[in-house]
Subunit: 123 residues, 6 copies
């Protein structure tokens, strides 16, 4: 309990400020963004892994952090996350490494805060 | 039977030329690239979808074409591909659209060449 | 009359194919894309210049071509286009140059096809 | 009066250090950078909006901050800025969202520090 | 004799068209671009290798082709080019591979056209 | 003695955490990354300059910092670094400027911490 909730709270506050001034295009974009990750032919967990890899190769730390947390919430195991990290690293190259470092660090923290329970392979 | 086999043949010939001159770093990178998509905690199909979305947001047509073909080979349905395209489009924005157009066009061609059978939803 | 109409026709045909398979997320994204360039506090011409510069720094030839044509349709003069090219070049660097070359070439062609009339400074 | 002036002061100090060691290429580049935004066929306000959108789709927070401040100085209204944000978001996708959040937050701060007066629509 | 000279001729013709309409900012940018690669503390060959790696990780085929040709003109050996390709591939990831394939293919062609002599290690 | 050692220590600690969970693909990638910069046909100093320019045009501050430090360790002079910065700035455009500012600032600090000795031109 700490930095992850702070991350979520700050994100929320900034999004509210965006909405305060946003016109219809920005509002609808936010709606589309949510819609793209809903269950469908692919489950949410897979879609969050897609979002995670896309965020890593585009090297956006905020986006990576958001999707790491969402992947854990959808029950992604460490092994599934590590394999997704591997794809991102091979596609995107060493320029992805600093983001990988922060993603692994955050994942550790997320597991610790939530009792690690989301990954049955962690004691 | 036609442009897709040509695409594969040209890719093959160019890769052979790369290998002819490549040092150990490049050779090993090719090995890692293959390894990242093998079955593991995530099945190959999911990993190919990850590679596809990464390629779309980074806007590499050759990479998109390769992963579209591989996704079909791994049995991805049209719906699964469309949802992956949606994530790529929302993450990457309208700059992805020209690549989306070519990806959908290629997918059509792949289904036609292979009898469409890989997607049970296509007649 | 020629390559510009072909460009538009091919773009149209590919977009129709996208729509044939697209789910709601992709369809709505296309709607948002159109909405973002409508007249508002900023006139369409300015918004098309914004789209042009964004496309140049992201180095998407199809997008650059589309916005060059739209800018001319909205009455942008050569001088306005050149100054927008300058901003894109300075922001994006020499990696933008190949796209600048093709943009200037296309602009020439667009002016020739349409009698150059859109730019009162061209004879 | 606070963080915005700090931002400008730090930027200034770092630029002076760049100049201390810079050769002619870097010095001239700085000159070109200034020149690209001068009044011409397009007014400075439009050019700053072009720079803002380019900075957002390339996802450079420092550049976005600089152009938001410059846009306000050139008299851009909230509506003009929001429509420019919309173009950037649609072109660049959700990967732009974290930068949009910080841009809107900064804009709020700029208006507050300067009495909001630059935008006649704000009370 | 053939495609490489065509590449240079087309590039030349398009650049002349750019200059025909260019304002001072674009003209000066072209001057800076030339200046950055001149002999200095680092020899031209090293600077062309820097330009090559930058072009590969930014994935611009025209720029890669230009710098491959220039590197050969400055006497870069195959081994030096291969090691530069390795750095680009590792930094930029598999998304660089299609550009690597085309770079190696072009290099082969350049060596063939010029008698391979620039690289003493090629017979 | 201070922020540079902290930078190295934090990097080290995060990398150890990456290794704790990493599968074979990520581990081997780290090995490749090290291998790409070893002495060969090109000396390490040149390869570090290649890595530096690649990092600047891809705009990764952590990577730029790492390569600035490595370049100094390999004996790169201020003039060699400035010319490499110039290539990066011209290729990558003004979007590189914030990274240039931080690189020059860090270089100053590295020279100060190490007595400046690595560059014989600094007193």
């Amino acid at each position: 309990v700490g930095s992850i909730e702070e991350f979520a709270a700050e994100r929320e506050a900034l999004n509210e400020n965006v909405m305060k001034y946003a016109g219809l295009t920005i509002k609808r974009f936010y709606g589309l963004d949510a819609r793209a990750y809903r269950d469908g032919a692919l489950p949410q967990k897979t879609k969050e892994l897609l979002g995670l890899v896309a965020s890593m190769v585009l090297r956006c730390d905020d986006c990576v952090a958001y999707h790491v947390i969402r992947c854990v919430e959808e029950g992604a195991s460490d092994a599934e996350l590590q394999e997704s990290f591997s794809v991102a690293l091979v596609v995107g190259g060493s320029i992805v490494v600093p983001h990988l470092r922060r993603a692994v660090d955050l994942l550790d923290e997320v597991r610790a805060e939530r009792g690690g329970g989301a990954d049955p392979e962690r004691p």
